[in-house]
Assembly symmetry: C2
Homo-oligomer: 222 residues x 2
Amino acid sequence: MAEHTVKAFDEDITRLRGLIAEMGGLAETALQDALEAMARGDETLAEKVIAGDKKIDALESEVDKLAVRIIALRAPMADDLREVIAALKIAGVVERIGDYSKNIARRIGQIEDRKRFEPLTLLPAMGELAGEMVHDVLTAYAARDPDLALEVIEADNKVDAFFDSIFRNLVSHMMENPATISSAAQLLFVARNIERIGDHATNVAEMVHFAATGVYPPDHDD
Amino acid sequence: MAEHTVKAFDEDITRLRGLIAEMGGLAETALQDALEAMARGDETLAEKVIAGDKKIDALESEVDKLAVRIIALRAPMADDLREVIAALKIAGVVERIGDYSKNIARRIGQIEDRKRFEPLTLLPAMGELAGEMVHDVLTAYAARDPDLALEVIEADNKVDAFFDSIFRNLVSHMMENPATISSAAQLLFVARNIERIGDHATNVAEMVHFAATGVYPPDHDD
């Protein structure tokens, strides 16, 4: 590439990374807010999470447009092209992470008698772990850090273990207190949404590893 | 676009769709083979699934390259561009669906005494349902059929219900037969992998709906 093209390309890539970072930040906040709203039964905060998802969707479109512009105008090669492709795919996955937080927020009005559920103390911890995965994978993307991406992939096992423990807890709870089955089922969906956030962060981590090194990481067990 | 460019673009898009269809076909077969290998304890078939995943990965790279070429050379607009972007993102998700089947195949050697597990009769049915979702979502993509994409999104609820039932069954099994906990845990991972295949097919369905209509479908509950 000619020097001015290199400079223009670098500026474009910096903007692309900025958009992904912004999307990721919003997805992280959405998850935190959704879990806080659930812990407090705060439906106003839940509404905020639901409304805020539109901004994440809009950012995905912006990433798509900019990535296309970069490919069409700058004709990047090798590493640079890999990074642009990764950005497109990562945006698609982060958008979906936002959806899960919105799904959690939607269930808040349907959980009654929240003090009776032990998982309500486990869910925030599980959510925090998944939130850290989202945070770390975006840091790994920004820093092109394949080792941090591998750590995110490892962390998914912990989120899965939380899910198993919460699931078992809720199932025994339902058996012992049939009257609470409907609320317990809502919490089950919340746990599953958090588990899927972890899974999607893992998916992003694979793409970050690929963008940084040109190879996908060895498969983890999940 | 000039007429010859339109023709060249149509040929490129047809090839792109062909590659996605091929990836999807391989991912579907991988899932069927992994489940059959599990049902029969057939480690040779499991090895075939594991080895075959490389072909899916290679096809993803081909999709990436062709999509980039189309954007750079043909400068597609609006609907056409949306389809190319969707192809890139869908390839990323189908690759991950392939990974889950490989993960299932890897566990087959670790399940002992398979006749004792009732879920071994439920897992193939759950897997078949997830396989149908993968099949249908690729048909929806090929036919640009947003209604079929919505049906796939609906079907995910059934896969989730299977997962819940298998999970509960395995947990009681573990409690009653502590000696089988390790094999039961392997089956739990298999069920989870199938659940995730359903979730990723849903993700593809959203992208298909977007490519066909320009809007993402209303969020489903999951």
